[in-house]
């Protein structure tokens, strides 16, 4: 009779193996494909941070939702819906719980059961408990749901909490274009996205992107790929 603790440890270690051998994941945006060569790692739990975290989340959601997947987003009263729509996210496949309050883990769990991708913005403090995260991660693994923990720039995050995630996607803004000294308007920015984690083969992968309001393209290419939203 194997104890549950030992069993979960075995599951922890063996279930994902190398992220490079991700499951038959959902389609990933062409500009981000270099980060996940075999598609999105369904069933794993990762973190997204950096100064372009929200936009990268939207870019990740666009193609899967277009394919028919659903996404649940918990804990973000500041979610820029229009920005999501502009980057191609199908708003009619979003379930939102901006202020779940004390029931945050029930809502995340509920979304894990019913959606393919769940994004959770934990506020500092009680919502950043590693044990609660472990439970939710186990559930996500069982349901083959991709669980993403979002830490926007300016939000503090517990070290042990952050370390316990399977992978980290950090998106940092480089240069903004379009704005000058007293003139212009923001148009696009260069973003460097770094994927790291103890389960990523080769330890680290990075891509350079150009993110405008409506498209996300690899900066090595010249022609941007438009992801025009069709749910107007």
């Amino acid at each position: 009779m194997v104890s549950t603790a030992a069993l979960s440890e075995v599951l922890d270690r063996s279930s994902l193996g190398d992220l490079a051998r991700g499951s038959q994941g959902l389609t990933i945006h062409p500009a981000l494909a270099a980060l996940f060569p075999t598609g999105l790692p369904m069933g794993s739990t990762g973190g997204i941070g950096g100064s372009a975290a929200s936009s990268i989340l939207f870019a990740l959601l666009a193609k899967p939702l277009e394919q028919g997947a659903w996404a649940g987003i918990v804990g973000s009263p500041f979610l820029g819906i229009e920005a999501a729509a502009d980057l191609g996210v199908r708003l009619d496949r979003l379930l939102l719980a901006p202020k779940p309050g004390i029931h945050w883990s029930e809502v995340v769990a509920g979304f894990i059961d019913s959606c393919e991708i769940v994004a959770f913005f934990p506020s500092a403090g009680s919502q950043q408990r590693p044990d609660a995260l472990r439970r939710l991660a186990a559930r996500a693994r069982q349901r083959r749901t991709l669980l993403l923990v979002l830490v926007r720039a300016g939000t503090s995050v517990r070290q042990d909490y952050w370390e316990s995630l399977d992978f980290h996607l950090v998106a940092q803004i480089g240069v903004w274009r379009g704005l000058g000294i007293g003139w212009g308007a923001l148009q696009s920015r260069e973003v460097e996205v770094v994927l790291s984690g103890r389960r990523v083969a080769g330890r680290e992968r990075r891509v350079q992107l150009v993110l405008s309001g409506f498209s996300c393209s690899s900066s090595s290419e010249r022609a941007p790929l438009r992801t025009v939203s069709s749910n107007q």
């Binding site: 708003l91 779940p100 509920g110 019913s114 393919e116 300016g154 379009g178 000294i181 309001g213």
Partner: protein
């Protein structure tokens, strides 16, 4: 819900062919009984039987194949006749039509008068050989109205639920669902309506949920529709007016096919089409065509043929004096084919069902505010563009307001519904002022979110002045928006109002 009047001619496939009710006629489609006259029904024939089974019931039955062409063209005079009372008639299949009663009601003095008038008009236009009876029903909403027509009665406003409750579940015309319900002991629509929504959804899926809404009288409002403005319409103008139906249909065919192909490429489908025919001299004929399944180009061309032929040949009202110059097809009740929708017979994926059930379960456990969905509203500022409404609430209740956004930039990925107070100062630490003409007295140099740590402002936009309600001295508001890029690469949307600075959104 709007009051709808439905006119129904029972056994229309029989009547269209010129047979009276006393002749035992059976109309077949693929060797199964599609329709029969009442004389045939007396002999035990019913819809759905195989031909051989029907043959064995009586020796004097007359079997004919269905003639869609006759059904359509024979019904055109009826539609035109009714159109005299109410210009915009909605026709679905030949034999049934519906009108919105609000306008005609006032004009003709009440629903009873209207009912009699419509019945008389229709009766007068029926094929002489078969002289079928017509039935008219009035109720709230399309579903209840069609059922009321079966009983030739007016259901008073608000009484739809009561009216529907005593009807058997077989009226839903979904044999799988109704046999399942009957096995569970639920025999009437009323009993079905009394089941809790959550249970219906998890046990019977989306289709069951949809019919549950109809059964308790709240029906069609839950349709998720794409805004009509966002959908193109098809307008065809001919260089020379055409007065022959075949030539017209031939010229339209490829345009209509291309139009519906482009709709389905965008993942849209429509269940209603507004057709407007216009002659060279300005005479106009309008019609609404409805289909339970999403419209395809074949179906619409067939209906166009009926409508055009009926008009041009003079069988349906007066023929126009000159040929038809232009045709407009405007899709109505447009929804997504590949996304979540609550409509008859449309496919919904497993993923959609799972998501819907999950949302309902969470709401059942934690209340309506547990799960929201975004809905477009429209407004000046980034926080006004989209609102969140609880899952399951009809979106039709929310109208988009027509304020175009003035910001020429991409939308910010994080928006603060209540702006956060910040500080912005120039190089020397002085406040920044903006004149009424948008001129700054100095340059913004540093910004602080918490009144303690300061970030250098590396780039900034020229000011955008917004004057809200300038006509109202009490609620007048003058704000000046800026975009800032700070030394750490972050970009923010801020505004200045009456000397104080606020953070409105961040481009993260």
């Amino acid at each position: 819900m709007t009051r709808v009047l439905t006119l129904w001619c029972p056994d229309w496939p029989v009547s269209a062919l010129g047979y009276g009710e006393d002749v035992p006629v059976v109309v077949l489609v693929q060797n199964r009984v599609h329709a029969c006259s009442s004389a045939a029904r007396h002999r035990g024939v019913h819809i759905g039987q195989r031909r051989r089974e029907a043959e064995s019931l009586a020796a004097d039955l007359v079997f004919v194949e269905r003639d869609m062409k006759a059904e359509g063209s024979q019904f055109e005079p009826v539609i035109s006749a009714v159109a005299e009372a109410s210009p915009l008639v909605e026709a679905s299949c030949p034999g049934t039509l519906a009108i919105d009663v609000r306008g005609p009601n006032r004009y003709f003095g009440g629903e009873d008068n209207l009912k009699r008038l419509i019945a008389a008009l229709a009766q007068g236009a029926m094929p002489v050989a078969s002289a079928p009876t017509v039935a008219v029903g009035v109720a709230d909403g399309r579903f209840a109205s069609a059922l009321a027509a079966r009983e030739n009665r007016c259901v008073a406003p608000g009484n739809s639920r009561e009216f529907l409750s005593s009807l058997p579940v077989a009226t839903l015309e979904r044999p799988q669902l109704s046999s399942l319900l009957e096995q569970l002991g639920i025999k009437t629509l009323g009993a079905f309506a009394r089941l809790p929504q959550e249970a219906v959804l998890s046990r019977f899926g989306i289709e069951g949920f949809r019919f549950h809404c109809l059964a308790n009288g709240s029906g069609e409002e839950t349709l998720e529709l794409v805004e009509p403005r966002m959908v193109h319409l098809l307008e065809v103008e001919f260089d020379v007016a055409i007065d022959q139906c075949d030539v017209l249909i031939f010229s339209l065919k490829s345009r209509v096919e291309e139009f519906f192909a482009s709709l389905s490429r965008e993942g849209l489908s429509c269940s209603r089409v507004h057709v407007e025919l216009k002659t060279a001299s300005g005479e106009v004929r309008r019609r609404l065509w409805r289909s339970d399944d999403p419209f395809g180009s074949e179906a619409i061309l067939q209906r166009l043929r009926w409508q055009i032929d009926g008009w041009l040949s003079g069988l349906a009202g007066e023929a126009p004096t000159v040929g038809i110059q232009s045709i407009i097809l405007a899709p109505d009740e447009v929804s997504r084919t590949d996304g979540f929708q609550l409509s008859f017979g449309h496919l919904v994926t497993d993923a959609d069902e799972r998501a819907m059930r999950g949302a309902h379960r969470l709401q059942a456990a934690l209340g309506r505010e547990a799960v929201y969905v975004p809905v477009k509203m429209g407004g000046r500022g980034p926080a006004d563009r989209f609102h969140l409404i609880p899952w399951g609430e009809p979106k039709s209740a929310f109208q988009e307001r027509p304020w175009p956004d003035h910001l020429p930039s991409p939308a910010p990925a994080s928006v603060f519904p209540s702006p956060q107070s910040i500080d912005v100062l120039d190089e020397r630490g002085f406040a920044i002022e903006v004149s009424a003409r948008g001129e700054l007295n100095t340059q913004p140099a540093r910004l602080s979110f918490d009144h303690r740590h300061w970030f250098r402002i590396m780039k900034w936009s020229s000011p955008w002045l917004i004057s809200e309600r300038w006509w109202d001295p009490k609620r007048r508001r003058r704000i000046v928006r800026f975009q800032f890029v700070l030394e750490d690469g972050s970009a923010h949307l801020c505004f200045l109002e009456q000397g104080s600075w606020y953070l409105e959104a961040t481009y993260d």
